[in-house]
Symmetry: C2
Amino acid sequence: MQDVPELVAQAREGRPRAVARLISLVEGASPQLREVMAALAPLAGNAYVIGVTGSPGVGKSTSTSALVSAYRKAGKRVAVLAVDPSSPFSGGALLGDRVRMSEHASDPGVYIRSMATRGHLGGLAWAAPQAIRVLDAAGCDVILVETVGVGQSEVEIASQADTSVVLLAPGMGDGIQAAKAGILEIGDVYVVNKADRDGADATARELNHMLGLGESRGPGDWRPPIIKTVAARGEGIDEVVEALEKHRAWLEEHDALTRRRARRAAHEVETIAVTTLRERIGDLHGDRRLGALAERIVAGELDPYTAADELVAGLTDGA
Amino acid sequence: MQDVPELVAQAREGRPRAVARLISLVEGASPQLREVMAALAPLAGNAYVIGVTGSPGVGKSTSTSALVSAYRKAGKRVAVLAVDPSSPFSGGALLGDRVRMSEHASDPGVYIRSMATRGHLGGLAWAAPQAIRVLDAAGCDVILVETVGVGQSEVEIASQADTSVVLLAPGMGDGIQAAKAGILEIGDVYVVNKADRDGADATARELNHMLGLGESRGPGDWRPPIIKTVAARGEGIDEVVEALEKHRAWLEEHDALTRRRARRAAHEVETIAVTTLRERIGDLHGDRRLGALAERIVAGELDPYTAADELVAGLTDGA
């Protein structure tokens, strides 16, 4: 067993090994999970959580790395949570992708963690918010959550951020792909990366059209900007940071930050509750109860709804 | 409100409109769902459920249609449940794809129904078993459940059949695709359709290799056959039917049919139970309770696990 208060204290001092251990504890659904989460609750809520998503090949890692540099220059403590099975970031503290994140590897003000789809119930949708909570409580000012805009759960994770950045690149038929992947609804800031390539303007126009940005909005509505970048050369990154800060200011001005975070917390609670109940049902699988119910159904003595009611009532007893 | 006993009686007589209404009732999660399922329970359990799956383009609809013809020739009442958003079968009774199913459209011994991904919780994994139960109770001898071997839930549905047929076609790199889609584990009978095309033998060999059919098995083990067909001309279909009947006999001989159906029923109960619980949690979404918990989390007064416990305890009260 880990000494949780001691780990939390060390994480607060910015010690990466303590942060790593805490994340492992919450990610692995350890028996100490609840103790950890209870200890972190009063400490979290200060970090600005930025979702960065886009299809493979648009330059997410490069863009994330450039954003890390920009925030470091501003003196912020930064964490990167790369939620992506195919991510170049390897697991654990400070072990980033050698090419793209190497400049941050020796920086104690940067914490990098990758998270792949885990086997346990609930998966990423379940584990990512826990890890964000640890990084938040550990005193990170900015948490960049990088996800691939492919799976539904990854999109969901990105949409749960304070601000969501959606990346595209020219010449990939990307607008349509983005629409298909459902990431066009979630962006607060859009970035057309690799803007030195042919077709960047066309992609931006197409995006503008698809987002209906030409249409009139209410005076208080947020109007997602479209920014062109060449992340590999750092071009346009300052504009992205500026847009992020503007969105954050907008959120605070409209009292939307707390509302968004409350929605995120509600989603988190719901996911945990469903996972808990699913596990309880899973526990019954080897159980004679479910087997006996199934046999009665096959024999025509029982219908599956009545059986499910009995099963749910059984869970209730165990609550 | 529908007169459920009357509908069930009409469905038993093979009246397609009654069958269609019952399926709509169970599919749409109507308030009468439980009444319908309770009425059907003692009537179901006689149909032989055959799953037919494969990637798009392998000839699933043509093969299904050919199997319908074969079973009709043997005097069986046949139902087709096409679980596929892209299926050519249009919804409702007796309205099949004009080209491929037209020969069955006017046959009162054939019932055709398509089922696309519905919006309600649980989706196809939830709705398909209910529809199968209706068709079974309505006196169908054979139910062909056609699914696209792409999504996880479609594969799951196919794997829940009494016998699963997995279709491939030559020259599509299909073996590897099938392996990726996870349909290589579920087949009881494999069919290489479009066998008049180049590469059919190579596909069969590759499949044989991937399935490890060359390896020795226990004396009582089922050895999935690989059958070559040209479904559009009806070639090889008799062999497929023969293989299906052999597998059914094998299941009965080894007491595996009841076991398989009990497993299917257990899965069904589990899905209903999870859906029920999810819905209850969803009902709480607009609820002040979840909102209040979320606000306390954002304020740092509560951790999400303790909140989830309260939520689950709340569900318990409502059980």
